[in-house]
Amino acid sequence: MNNYFQLSTAFFVLLKREITRFLSLYRQTIIPGVISSGLYIIVFGHALGDRIRNNQELADAGGYMLFIIPGLIMMSVINHSYQNTSSSLMQAKFLKFLDDILITPLSGLEISIAYIIGGAIRGIINAASIILLSYLIADGFTIDNYFMTFIYISIVSWAFSALGLLVGIYARSWDHIGVFTNFVFMPLTMLGGVFWSISMLKNEFLQTISLLNPIYWMIQGLRESMIPNNEPFSYLALIISLSFALIFTVIASYLFSKGFKIKS
């Protein structure tokens, strides 16, 4: 019998559990992301957007409002997919019902992947909700390449879901979960070009620093997929996104399989 991974009934039951959990809490897990993104679109797009001009990239996107939507989607995807796995695992650890899963015939890898897919699906549902909302409230909103848009959203959801699992494994308190959100994701996302183009930075040094931010590339990749443009396809953004997804998945699954901070 394969000791590492099997697509067994148990695997799908755990996956179903993860999806049911966040869907049953949709007022906390889906709606807030849509509302906050809608507010950003209204406040920054409609109200302030017209005053932000003189940038070719914004003009190419069809205006500031349409420019920020991919960034808002990515911000929501990162936040929700990370929150899903980290909080789900933390709750199971904290309330000790994780033991119900650890005593089953599921391998550590299978448990990890079920958690990660659950988190990724939450990220994708959030992204889809924001896209639907954008069609409703953002004039001129359209998606240039649906396939690549889906691919980027899926990869980034997966990557941050895996990172959430990693933090959930390591975390001993809810503080540890919050530290990543407040001190890592929020600055990196904000500095990753959600609300502005890197070309707006006058300082070349700051532009170079921004290029070191992986979230910049993830947002950039999605923006290129969503907004019609004549630029050649950027493999770098895709490679960076895929690499992070792979690295976080391997580390999280390995630690989970070894029982790091989960088993005595």
Binding site: N3, T20, S24, D99
Partner: protein, 304 residues
């Protein structure tokens, strides 16, 4: 075949605490086995290693011949665990909890649901099936916990302090249920602080202390071999009387003749015959046997 086979099992925690000191233990299939020991003796660590909750340091553990590491899928499928602490997935009703738990053991959705309803009915929880575990009383939570252990119908049930904090009525109900399950072929491994419970339910017992198995065997054999059994006869003999040809070890104190024996029930007839022949009057006679609790206290204190 043994339901559980533990060989040289060693567990040293990260803080260097040696919880299990290369223990060896066999639990025969079909037995009702009691694992007794004071707090921190190594009971929960042993259970943890068998169920995959604790990583062993060295040695091996097998469930019905399946290694708990190399063949963990088969080994874990054979086990139903009812842990001591009452912890439940907070997002689901107890019906959903039981259905999920059956699903985690590869029962398809139809079978899992049917089994969950069956367990709910068996444990008299049908009318609470739409309640979350936190809404239930302590006794009901304990019943859900035990139902979870039985949900996938495993041949080995491990119960860690199943009657801790439950009232007498429920305790007796659980005892009857467990005895019936054992009679139907389930192997049961029980840890308990109530020695009386182990004495009543278990046909075999091991006592663990400071990570070592210090006694192991059939319950009645343990009591007869390790207990201090004696027959007390109230008579008119003086304290320093020497009873000739009396083959048992004895002492006399204030006209009470206390005879040590390993088999009080069978020896008592012979002793009465002997006293008759020697014309020693018997005013009162009683046979006393150590309880498992006395043996447990004696053994675990000796080890400290």
């Amino acid at each position: 075949m043994n339901a559980v086979e533990i060989n040289n099992l060693l567990k040293i925690y990260d803080n260097k605490f040696k919880a299990l000191n290369e223990i060896n233990l066999c639990i025969p299939k079909g037995s009702f086995f009691g694992l007794l020991g004071p707090n921190g003796a190594g009971k929960t660590t042993t259970i943890g290693i068998l169920t995959g909750l604790v990583n062993k340091t060295s040695g091996s553990a097998k469930i019905f011949g399946y290694d708990t590491v190399d063949n963990f899928r088969e080994a874990r499928t054979m086990i139903g665990l009812s842990p001591q602490e009452l912890n439940f997935d907070v997002f689901f009703t107890i019906e959903e909890l039981l259905t999920l738990q059956a699903g985690y053991f590869n029962k398809d959705i139809k079978e899992a649901k049917a089994r969950a309803l069956e367990m709910l009915e068996y444990f008299n929880l049908t009318d609470k099936r739409k309640s979350k575990a936190r809404e239930l009383s302590g006794g009901m939570k304990r019943r859900v916990q035990i139902a979870k252990a039985f949900i996938h119908d495993p041949p080995l049930i491990i119960l860690d302090e199943p009657t801790a904090g439950v009232d007498i009525e429920l305790r007796y109900q659980l005892w009857d249920f467990l005895k019936e399950q054992n009679k139907n072929g389930k192997t049961i491994l029980l840890t308990t602080h109530y020695i009386e419970e182990a004495e009543k339910l278990c046909d075999q017992i091991a006592i663990i202390n400071e990570g070592n198995i210090i006694a192991n065997g059939k319950t009645e054999d343990l009591i007869s071999s390790m207990g201090k059994n004696h027959i007390t006869i109230e008579t008119n003999l003086d304290d320093n009387t020497n009873i000739e040809d009396f083959k048992w070890k004895y002492s006399i104190n204030k006209n009470k003749l206390v005879i040590e024996t390993n088999n009080p029930d069978s020896d008592i007839i012979e002793i009465i015959e002997f006293m008759k022949q020697k014309s020693i009057p018997i005013n009162k006679i009683r046979s006393e046997q150590s309880t498992l609790e006395e043996i447990f206290i004696n053994l675990t204190n000796k080890n400290e």
